[in-house]
């Protein structure tokens, strides 16, 4: 009986893990093609999207693009890739903006806009849930 319980738990765990991988794979961090790195750590991604770190390692300025708080891709990206709630990101931006010590990311309306803005803005970063077919944009894995 005990073995059955363990087995069921194992199955559930496998299902949950594959489900979360599926989500993670659907979310892609995209950067302007001029970016030199190969990947980002989760902590780096958090630092950039929370607007704390404003420069890449080579000193170039970072421009951050995001979708509206209620956009499904934004919610999925925050939860799965950054492992944060959208309201946690919002709190950090609000503190910067309304106390005058920083800025919020630039909000775009759609994923198409996101790709177009990242493609034309050197040093920029964003995220999408679809395939990119634009040579000025690269996808970047978050580890």
């Amino acid at each position: 009986m005990l073995n059955v319980t363990i087995w069921v738990r194992f199955l559930i765990t496998v299902c949950l893990l594959s489900a979360s991988n599926l989500y993670a794979e659907n979310q892609r961090v995209i950067v302007n093609a001029g970016f030199g790195g190969d990947d980002l750590t989760r902590n780096t991604a958090r630092a950039i999207f929370s607007m704390r770190v404003k420069r890449w390692e080579d000193g170039a300025a970072i421009t951050v693009f995001v979708l509206p708080d209620t956009h499904p891709t934004h919610r999925l990206f925050t939860r799965e890739t950054l492992a944060l709630f959208p309201h946690q990101l919002r709190r950090s931006w609000d503190r910067y903006v309304y106390s005058g010590i920083g800025t919020a990311p630039i909000e775009v309306e759609s994923e198409e806009d996101m790709i177009a803005r990242v493609a034309t803005t050197p040093g920029s970063i964003g995220y999408i849930s679809m395939e990119v077919l634009n040579e000025d944009v690269r996808t970047l894995p978050v580890r």
Partner: protein
């Protein structure tokens, strides 16, 4: 420091800033360099006894915040920003539009694991968890912030200052240590001076100096947060003898802050102690010390990304050695001015992007959270009272 005495940082920065913003709008190459932001809220308050933000026993609408700000980033290391604020909180708020902040930020180091920056001008004081955004309704955990730590009556002393500030962070694994150090002065006006000098006496507050140090440590992207604030304020109360005498006031404040987020639950608690040391003020030649103590415990539950509910227990003692408030009688105030215990439940509904409707119900025991200026007649102040409020807010 002579120059700074004659030209307070805030004024200087304000003049600089308005000039720079005019230039900025002409020269900004990308629209992203120059950005506007703002917020507004309108609340309605009803109390069954006592006045809170206007004539609230008859239901008051004197509860309004309007802010408009601008930031200009000519270079990724340099950021100028300013915000004007119009605030109506009954008789406890100043008239007209005030410079809420006007500052220049310069980033010295901005690496992933370590950062350091300088700020100067009129700044929002780094004080506990919520002070810097206390006027923006959507950033507050409730319509009325816990009065134990964010008392409306002391707002003018604690809220902002004309200062120079050093801020930074250090990341180590899943830990992020934020720190701020500030040296400056409180921008008193003839109205806020009355917080420390009785209305019946002429006088002013001189030579005020302020130091603030705060550190907030975050674990795992803010899942757990600890904060420690030390705030010290020295000044001379320059007045003719009356209810009080001319003398010195030193205020030392210590705040511990803690927040824990687990799934949809958020537990927040802050504890504050203020030691006020009066030299000659009450009795010439004598030093007297008053130690206030306050804390709150708050549990929030996020039903979904739009709806949040919370409950809170909030306690304040003006003098921790006189919890029943006997000492208040000396100043012609009721004993209940010496304490405040508030049980609150409420909800916040983000019904559309940038919009929020919030409401809450308070049951108070004690009158320390009331403005004396709105409740001047001690015989009318009630110890047990209830407050109901609704607030609509928008920000961009």
């Amino acid at each position: 420091m002579k120059m700074f005495e004659r030209y307070p940082f805030g004024k200087l920065a304000g003049v600089l800033l308005s000039g720079l913003l005019v230039c900025a709008s002409a020269f900004a190459q990308q629209p992203e360099e120059l950005r506007w932001h703002g917020f507004f809220s309108q609340g309605v308050i009803h109390t069954d006894e006592n006045s809170f933000f206007g004539d609230s026993t008859d239901t008051s609408f004197d509860f309004r915040d309007v802010g408009l700000g601008l930031s200009w980033q000519p270079h990724d290391r340099l950021l100028f920003s300013a915000q004007g604020l119009y605030r109506d909180a009954g008789k406890t708020s100043p008239n007209g539009v005030n410079v809420d902040y006007a500052l220049v930020n310069y980033s010295l180091i901005n690496r992933l694991d370590f950062g350091l920056g300088l700020r100067a001008g009129r700044v929002k004081n780094p004080f506990a968890f919520y002070n810097e955004t206390r006027d923006v309704a959507a950033t507050r955990p409730s319509v009325i912030l816990p009065v134990s730590i964010y008392a409306p009556a002391f707002r003018d002393i604690f809220h902002s200052s004309d200062s120079v500030m050093l801020s930074g962070y250090k990341e180590a694994g899943d830990w992020l240590i934020n720190f701020d150090f500030l040296r400056g002065e409180v921008p008193f006006d003839t109205r806020s001076e009355r917080l420390l000098i009785p209305v019946s006496q002429p006088g002013s507050i001189e030579d005020n100096k302020l130091w603030v140090a705060r550190s907030i440590v975050e674990y795992d992207g803010g899942r757990i947060r600890f904060g420690l604030t030390y705030f010290t304020f020295d000044s001379r109360l320059d007045t003719t003898p009356g209810l009080i005498f001319p003398g010195d006031l030193d205020v030392d404040t210590y705040i511990l802050s803690f927040e824990y987020n687990w799934e949809s639950l958020q537990f927040t608690s802050e504890y504050m102690r203020i030691d006020s040391i009066y030299q000659d003020v009450f009795v010439p030649g004598l030093e007297s010390k008053r130690e206030s103590e306050s804390y709150y415990l708050q549990l929030g539950y996020r039903v979904n990304e739009k709806l949040r509910m919370f409950g809170r227990y909030d306690v304040y003692y003006a003098n921790r050695k006189d919890k029943s408030g006997n000492g208040q009688l000396v100043f012609g105030r009721p004993k209940s001015d010496g304490f405040s215990k508030d049980i609150v439940v409420g909800a916040q509904y983000h019904f559309a992007d940038n919009w929020m409707l919030a409401g809450e119900v308070h049951h108070f025991k004690g009158s320390a959270s009331l403005g004396v200026i709105e409740n001047p007649d001690a015989s009318n102040v009630k110890e047990d009272w209830n407050l109901y409020t609704l607030q609509l807010s928008y920000k961009f």
